[in-house]
Each structure stands twice: as structure tokens, then as C-alpha cells.
Amino acid sequence: MKPAEFEHHAVDSVEEAVGLLTELADDDVKVLAGGQSLVPLLALRLASVGHLVDVNGVTELATIADGDGLAIGATVRHRQVERSPEVAAANPLLAAAVRRIGHAAIRNRGTIGGTVAHADPAAELPAVLTLLDGSVEVRGTGGGRTIAAADLFDGYFTTTLEPEELLTAVHVPALPAGTGWAVQQFSRRSGDYGIVTVLATLALDGDGRISAARVAYAGVDAVPLRSPVAETALVGQTASAELWTAVGHDAAVVLEPASDLNGSAEYRRHLAATLTARALQQASERAGVRA
């Protein structure tokens, strides 16, 4: 478990990073952020690189800006998000989801940009972006562009970023006031990737009817998924335990998860149904009624 030889480039700026990514494009170059996913792959020799562009020293990527939603720099650590008062105020769902990433030691190193670029189908952050229609900013030598979450995740561990592009920031919309939210996850042990993770937001009108609903999944497909089945079934209905169970069931049956050591597709669908119902219940309890 020792990586093969590579050259390490510590950079100070986005320009330098993007320059190297372009210059070394033919020579197996990758960005190194928190290293929590990349370094094990290198150590196991499941991946090998000629060059690593280490962005940990790029200070302009290490801040959280609160304006029209949250703009989180790519090298912001999970732990920073988890503890940020701005995040807690603007989007408590994001803080709660990030808290489910691994253990404290991992969250101290792992970065927001890294988890999005890595695009693990079970990861929390990509699912949050999918749920809330977030987006990412990327920079190449030719300039920057914004990619909407819906256009970003492109298969197992794959995004639509070009190899020469650096992810510089992640945009997460704020939760509208009064919106209830929930993060429900089941994993074998504390700190593990969720076998299934369900994220939900709900808004209720004055009559206790659902005025808006979003449901997203991680761990059930190659990419994080929204559930149109659940969202359509919810809007206009009156909140009730029976509704949550029925919606959970209907949303889960159309999923096509893979089987692995933790359980079969059927088991994952059962989990998705359970967790959807629990998430909706929890989100409804948190939803404030808007006048």
C-alpha cells in the first residue's frame, strides 16, 4: 500500500493550478484536495498519477460566502461547513448532511470541492446539490463557467468537469424560511457511507397542505437522484403518516439500485421506502406554517 511515484506541485493560486492542469494534461495529472478519497486509491495502486496539483494552499478557495445562498470555496473543509454559523442559519440541512460524512478526522481534511468532484454515488454533498438545484463554479485556462447540479453528475464517480478544469466553488441555495427539512440515512456503523440516504424539504400552507416538496436520494443509483414520483405525489396533499408511508413506497419501487455486500437491490428499496417516510415525517414536523 505505497503509491507509485508521482510529482507533487503545491500551488498558491487558481491560475497556477489551472495552468498546470493544462500543461500536464497529457501526463496523468490530478488535483489533490483533502486526499481522503484520492490518497487511498493511490496507496492501493487502484489509481496512479504522474502529477498531483495540490490546491490546499490556495487561500482564495478556503472561504464561505453568504449572500444569494451560500458560496463555498472548493477547499473549505467539511468540518468548517458543519460548524459555520452562516451555514446553520442559511441552510441547516446542508450542515446536517455534512455531519454525516465519515468521522471527525475525515471531515477535518476532506473538502467540499473534493467530495463533489469525486462524485461518489453514496456521498451526501452531491445529493444536497441535486435536492436544492445547487451548482458549481469551475475554472479552466479559457475562463470560468457554472454547471448546474442537474448537469454535473454523469455516472459512477464521474462529473462533466473537463480534466483541465478546477472546481472553485459550490453554490447551495438557502432554505426558504419555514421550509422543513430532513436528512435520513442508514449505515451499518456510525461514520460509514449511507447505504441509502434520503434528503427532503417540505413547505406547508395555512391549511396543513403541502405547498412544495423536494426529495433526493444518494446510494440508490450511479448518481444522486431527485424523486419526481414523491414530489408530485406530495404537493397539494395534507400531511399525514399514511401519506408518508404511501409516498415512500411509491418513490422506492421505481428505484433501480445495485446490489453489494451490504444488501440487494430489494433491501435498498426497502430502506429507501422506510427512510423516505421517516424523512417526510421529520421535515413536516420542522416545517413552519406560513401565513
Partner: protein, 779 residues
């Protein structure tokens, strides 16, 4: 103050917790090289092509060894203790690979990085052979044996029969038949295997620094296999980061590394990485028992027959082969219950998997089987599982014997059961369970009992058992300090603390002035097991006690001569010899020892100024029951939405005789329970049907973390002992009985669904399958 019985903080902890321990990987020797292995990616195949020239030519590479090279440099590996059919095996494969991870070649280079690069340059091709991955294939006589020099993949069979089986079954109202199985798991100590071999070409001495449980055992085997004279072979072991039985084994890598050092005349280090460890260090358990129980309607267990199969993987374990454990399973399976007729047929089979190794209570299949069966009997008869146990338990009366022979005079299983059920408030739980079920919540309670011959009653160990007891050496230093040299080789048990407590009390010196030395074969008495098999409490302690008593006698004789009084009128308190009740005549041990060492000619006539002792403890004087044991009970809640199992309470009532250090005993119990919980809920070594190994990292082999382990409530029963060495082993019990306890609780929770729990591994998907919530393919 008496040290024995006190919660003395472990002397090891400061060193280890502040990062000042000495593990093999801490060793940095001048000119040291690093080894890495090429391991087989397939389960079974012939090596048809092997070209190591590119690797040999790579910069920084000092040597590449193939199986053919090793065959020239090593004798066939044979353990003096092996049982059953044993194939001819060499350190690296000579023509056939037999499991994923099998050893094909070894590279020695300037660094581990360079060595791994060179491993990647080796050109190797395999021709697949049919794989043997399960009991059925291994038992099929038409499947060729994995080793050409063996007749069969069934490498050992035996039968144990006691009482009248036919009569017991003839008298039964019902016969319950079931096959129970325990899946393959692994020890997974935090420190992997590793060694540094350091051959000194000048003296011809080979020094091997090893993470081992048995430095002397390793030395003996290395001497034989490498033809290395024993006077020039030294094994050193300092801190070892856990082993749980694994490192009591000797592995083929252990020969490769010293051979390379001897060839190259330079120190060679190999530290196993986690990927190698999970795949190839060895695995444990994987047994099944087809059982038949003969019972009366009232719940009397009359007879038991069992057919046990154990999957030992490809290569025989060393020094103990798997067959030594099937023997213990057959001995203990009926446990402390009144059975009238019993038979156990055992088979050990070879498959294309990593080697079977001992793991904390290697025979635990007996407790899992027996205690699961009792719950199944109770369920079938509509009886309370606690009552079925009470009805059938032996009392520990003078004439009581296990049906397999040994006496169990004084065992406290019944008392442990009563105390456990009282502590957990069994009647209250049953009421709560019923109320919860009415609300659609599923709670369950499990209980299980075990006994362990640690050391066993006297008739099981004549002359000190198969090792002939154990020795220790003690020496009084010139400053009055006491050095204790033990044959134990601790790797987490805290012997530097417990043995010092014993020696301090025996000698009458302060605890802080005792130093326990271990892990240097130049100093330590021979003991083939080192530390393992719950032996230290009795044998390690007994050896230190009798040797210290002998030294004390020597000291008292000298002091008595100097003071011209009878030795029986002297005492030693806090390192000072004095006549009882007569102040002013104190002789500090430092003064006495200094004088005897510098001027031995001044020793009083008839006394021995050589202030050392080495006595052998054979346990002949002990008359206690010899059995450790206890009862665990736990309460779980099963979530049918997820299959998750929450452990709400865990109660332990245990009896390991006199307790030397309650904190250490509790730690041993908690660690064992944690591993038992891991075995049921989290851990499984996965191979697919082609023999591919599927758990390369801790992402796939799930160990419980502290967050998964509930608080564990411990009650001690210290059953009386007689002669002062009433300490019995406690290291293994938690792991022996916890899996049975937890599976019984989950089974009880799932009782409303008619679930029949026959497998020990119960991950969430399997729990839901048992509850009928998801289909058969779910797990």
C-alpha cells in the same frame, strides 16, 4: 497494601498511549532493506510463466526470490505439533497458487516503495484450476486434492462419543434437527504482522524482531526450517498491537524474510499492509454443525449428536493445525449440561481460502451451537429458555462431570445465570416485550452460558498439561529491585502489570520496584505457546509466584543467618526484611542484595548468595474447579424499517476465580464482547464463488467501533480457590459467549415471525429476510 485484587493502573499505558511503545515497525536498523510480496490474484492455478528479470534489474532492488529460489534455501515447513494430513510446503509457492494472496515471489529493495514498484514489474501467468470454495466441493471425492501429495481435501476426521447415544434418542419425546453455521471472520489486530530479520555475517547470528505471541515458538520453528543453530538465533518481541490468536501462528512470510537477510547480509523489514492482512494473514471460524437433540416434552435434554465441518483454507496452520480446535469443540460442545448420550463427528476440509487461524476462543462454535440449540428446544417445546437451562444445568457437585469426561466440581454456571437474569430483570423485560410487540416494536432477550478449561480441572493437565507447566525467572537486583522474566509474551493483556502485582505481594516489595521482562528468547524460559489460550492467568501467574517464593526463601535464609534467628520469624515488608515485632533490626533488600552480589563470600553458611530463582509451576497443588465461565444476557430492539439491531443492554456475570486486577479483567471482557458483537452484526470475510477476495480494505470488512458497542455491565463471582493460585483465564470468554447471546436475542425479537436463526452473521438485510420483510435474495 496488597496489590493482588487492586485496580492497579496498567504500567504499559503511559508508554503506549503517549506513543512511546516499541513496535516492530518502529525499528530502523542501519543498512536495512524492505520486502514486498507478489501475491496471487486468483484462488487456484498453476504458475505457467514467471519472469522476474525486469524486477531484478530495477534500480534499488537487491534481490527477487521465486518459489524455486526459496526451495533451495529452506527445508519443507513442518510443525512438530501438526495433526492430520500435512502437505509439503515451502515459503513461496513452487508451482501452484491456492488462494488469493498466496505467495508467488518476494522483492527486497531499498524502500517499500521501490519494492512494490518492482513487484509490479514481475511478469507472471497462471492457468486456472477448478476452485474448491465450500464444504460440498471439499467433501466431493471426485474433486482433486489441493495438494498432490494428499489423498483428499478432507485432511482430518475424528469421532468423540460418550454415554449411550441410542438409549438417549430412544427415550426422547422429540428429536430436533438443525444445521448451524458460523461464518469466516478475522482477528484484525490494529498492528498487522511484521518482522525485521537481522543476520550478522560476522557471528552467524540471526536476530528476528517479530510481532508474535510466541517468540520461543517462532525461534524453534525458524531453527528447524532454516537450519539455523539455536545458539545463534534470537527472537525479540516488544510491544505488540494485538493479535487475538493470529500471531501465535507462524507464517510462510516469517521464513522468507530471515532467509533474505541471511542471503544478503543486511537487515530486512517486512510490515504487512492492511490489504495483505485482510486477504492473507489468516482467517478464523467458518464451521458448521449438523445437530440432533433428543428431548423430553418437559425440556430434559437427553442426547446430542453433532457433525462438525471446519473449513481450514488451503495451507495448514502452524504450529497448531485446525484439527486441534475441532477436538476442543467436540470436548466442550455439551457444556455444563446433563446430557446422557453424545457423539460428535468432526471433519477438517481444505479449500482455496486463506489459512484458518486461532481467534480468541477458537472453539467458540461449541457455545454458539449449544446455546442456540437450547433456545430452539425451548421455542419448539413452548418453554422458557431460562427454565430449559436451569433444568439441564450441572450443579458443580463433587461427582459432576461433563459427559465428555472432565469433572466440573465447583462451577458456578447456575449462579451466574440467576445473577444475570436478576440483574437484567428478566420478568420485567418479558412484560415490556409484550407491550412493545403490541405497538409493533420488536424487543428480544438473549442469554448464553459457557465454561472454559482455563486451566481445567487437575485430571485434564497431569504434570502441568501439554507444556508441562511453565517457568519464570526472578532476580533481586543490587538496588533491591525485582526483575521478573516471564515466558508469557503479552500483546495487550497487561502482564507487565499483573505479574508485577503478584511478584510484589509474594516478595514483599513495592509494586514500582518490580520490572517484568518478556520477549527476548535469550532470557525467557521456553514456552511454545507464549501468550495464548487464556493460559497466563494460571500458568504465567503460578510460575511467577513459585519462583518468587523460592527467591524469598533464599533471601530469608540469608537474613536469618545474618540476624541469627529463624527464617519463620522474619517478614519482608516494603522491600525491608525485619524480625516480626522487633524494631531496629531491619535489613533493606538493597543492602542484602548488594552485599550478596559484590561479596558473595560473606553469605552465611548453608545459604545461596545467588539471588535468582527459576521454578516450574505445574499446577499440581491447585484443587479449584479449573473452569472459567459465565453467563451473558442482552436485550435488543430490531428495527423492521431498516434491519438495524440496537443493543439496549448487555449484562455479564463471570467467574474467573480470584481476580488479580479488576480493571484488566473488565477490559478483557469488554473487548471480547465487542468482537463477538462484531462477528454477529458487522464482520464477515467475503469470497465469491470463484474464490475472489472481496474485502480489500476496512470499507468492506466492518469492525465495530466504540460507537457500536453498548455499555457493558459486569458482575464478578470469585468462586473460592484454595492454594493461592486461584486465577483462571478470562481473555477469551467474552468472545466465546457473546455471539450466542446476541443471536439468541435477535432470534427472540424475531420470534413473532417464526424466524429460525441458524447462521451467526446477521447484518440488517439478513435480519429483514428472517423477519419475512424482504425476500431470500436480499442478504
Amino acid at each position: 497494601m496488597r496489590m493482588v485484587g487492586a485496580k492497579v493502573p496498567r504500567v504499559e499505558d503511559r508508554r503506549i498511549l503517549t506513543g512511546r511503545g516499541h513496535y516492530v515497525d518502529d525499528l530502523q536498523l542501519p543498512r536495512m532493506l524492505h520486502a514486498a510480496f507478489l501475491r496471487s490474484p486468483i484462488a487456484h492455478g498453476r504458475v505457467t510463466h514467471l519472469d522476474v528479470e525486469a524486477a531484478r534489474a530495477a534500480p534499488g532492488v537487491h534481490a527477487v526470490y521465486t518459489g524455486a529460489d526459496m526451495r533451495e534455501l529452506s527445508k519443507p515447513i513442518r510443525s512438530p505439533l501438526s495433526q492430520g494430513a500435512v502437505p509439503e510446503v515451502y515459503p513461496l509457492v513452487t508451482d501452484t497458487v491456492r488462494f488469493v494472496g498466496d505467495l508467488v515471489a518476494m522483492v527486497v529493495a531499498d524502500s517499500r516503495y521501490t519494492a512494490e514498484d518492482a513487484v509490479g514489474m514481475i511478469d507472471v501467468e497462471y492457468a486456472d484450476l477448478p476452485v474448491v470454495m465450500d464444504y460440498e466441493a471439499a467433501l466431493d471425492p471426485s474433486v482433486p486434492p489441493l495438494f498432490a501429495d494428499l489423498d483428499s481435501n478432507v485432511v482430518h476426521t475424528a469421532t468423540k462419543e460418550s454415554g449411550d447415544v441410542d438409549a438417549a434418542f430412544a427415550a426422547a419425546d422429540r428429536i430436533i434437527e438443525v444445521t448451524l453455521s458460523q461464518h469466516r471472520i478475522a482477528n484484525v489486530p490494529i498492528e498487522t504482522r511484521g518482522l525485521v530479520a537481522d543476520y550478522d555475517a560476522g557471528s552467524g547470528e540471526l536476530t528476528v524482531h517479530a510481532a508474535t505471541q510466541s517468540p520461543q515458538g517462532l525461534r524453534l520453528q525458524l531453527a528447524q526450517t532454516l537450519d539455523q543453530p539455536m545458539d545463534r538465533l534470537r527472537v525479540l518481541t516488544q510491544d505488540v498491537g494485538g493479535a487475538f490468536g493470529l500471531k501465535g501462528n507462524i507464517f510462510r512470510e516469517d521464513f522468507c524474510v530471515p532467509i533474505a537477510s541471511r542471503q544478503l547480509g543486511r537487515p530486512v523489514k517486512w510490515i504487512e499492509d492492511r490489504n495483505e492482512h485482510l486477504m492473507a494473514s489468516g482467517h478464523a471460524r467458518e464451521e458448521r454443525i449438523a445437530a440432533r437433540v433428543a428431548v423430553t416434552e418437559a425440556g430434559d435434554i437427553l442426547g446430542l449428536t453433532a457433525a462438525l465441518d471446519l473449513d481450514m483454507g488451503a495451507y495448514p496452520g502452524m504450529p497448531f493445525s485446525a484439527a486441534s480446535f475441532t477436538g476442543v469443540i467436540a470436548l466442550l460442545l455439551p457444556g455444563p449440561y446433563k446430557v446422557r448420550g453424545y457423539r460428535c463427528d468432526t471433519r477438517v476440509v481444505a479449500t482455496n481460502k486463506s489459512t484458518y487461524v486461532a481467534y480468541r476462543g477458537p472453539w467458540a462454535m461449541e457455545t454458539f451451537t449449544r446455546e442456540r440449540l437450547i433456545d430452539m428446544v425451548a421455542a419448539e417445546l413452548g418453554l422458557d429458555p431460562a427454565e430449559v437451562r436451569r433444568r439441564n444445568l450441572l450443579e458443580g457437585a463433587d461427582e459432576d462431570r461433563l459427559i465428555t469426561g472432565p469433572t466440573v466440581r465447583g462451577i458456578t454456571t447456575r449462579e451466574c445465570l440467576d445473577r444475570a437474569l436478576e440483574r437484567i430483570d428478566y420478568p420485567a423485560f418479558r412484560t415490556e416485550q409484550e407491550a412493545a410487540r403490541a405497538e409493533g416494536r420488536y424487543l428480544g432477550i438473549g442469554m448464553a452460558a459457557f465454561i472454559e478449561n482455563a486451566p481445567g480441572p487437575k485430571e485434564m493437565r497431569p504434570g502441568g498439561g501439554f507444556t508441562g507447566g511453565e517457568s519464570a525467572k526472578v532476580r533481586l537486583e543490587m538496588d533491591g529491585a525485582l526483575t521478573v522474566i516471564t515466558a508469557q509474551s503479552p500483546h495487550g493483556q497487561g502482564h507487565e502489570t499483573t505479574l508485577a502485582q503478584l511478584a510484589a505481594d509474594e516478595m514483599g516489595v513495592p509494586f514500582d520496584s518490580v520490572r517484568v521482562v518478556h520477549g527476548d528468547t535469550r532470557l525467557t524460559p521456553f514456552n511454545i505457546i507464549g501468550t495464548g489460550g487464556s493460559r497466563a492467568a494460571t500458568w504465567g501467574s503460578g510460575a511467577v509466584m513459585v519462583s518468587t517464593r523460592k527467591l524469598r526463601e533464599k533471601v530469608l535464609a540469608i537474613a536469618a543467618g545474618q540476624l541469627e534467628i529463624d527464617p519463620s520469624d522474619l517478614q519482608i515488608v516494603d522491600g525491608v526484611v525485619s524480625p516480626k515485632g522487633v524494631p531496629g533490626k531491619e535489613i533493606p533488600l538493597a543492602r542484602l542484595a548488594g552485599q550478596m552480589t559484590l561479596m558473595p563470600q560473606t553469605a552465611p553458611p548453608g545459604t545461596d548468595p545467588n539471588l535468582m530463582a527459576e521454578e516450574r509451576f505445574t499446577g499440581e497443588e491447585t484443587t479449584g474447579s479449573g473452569w472459567s465461565g459465565g453467563v451473558h444476557a442482552c436485550i435488543v430492539e430490531v428495527d423492521l424499517g431498516t434491519g438495524g439491531v440496537e443493543i439496549k443492554r448487555w449484562v455479564v456475570v463471570e467467574d474467573c476465580g480470584r481476580i488479580i486486577n479488576p480493571a484488566i479483567v473488565d477490559g478483557q471482557i469488554r473487548g471480547g464482547v465487542a468482537q463477538g458483537i462484531g462477528s454477529v452484526l458487522y464482520e464477515r470475510i467475503p469470497y465469491d464463488s470463484e474464490g475472489t477476495f472481496l474485502a480489500g480494505t476496512f470499507m468492506d470488512y466492518l469492525l465495530p467501533t466504540s460507537a457500536e458497542i453498548p455499555p457493558i455491565e459486569i458482575v464478578h463471582i470469585e468462586s473460592p480457590d484454595d492454594d493461592g493460585v486461584g486465577f483462571r483465564g478470562v481473555g477469551e470468554g467474552g468472545m466465546i459467549v457473546a455471539p450466542a447471546t446476541l443471536t439468541n436475542a435477535i432470534s427472540d425479537a424475531l420470534a413473532p415471525f417464526g424466524a429460525r436463526v441458524t447462521e451467526q452473521y446477521l447484518p440488517p438485510a439478513e435480519v429483514l429476510r428472517l423477519a419475512g420483510v424482504v425476500g431470500a435474495g436480499a442478504a
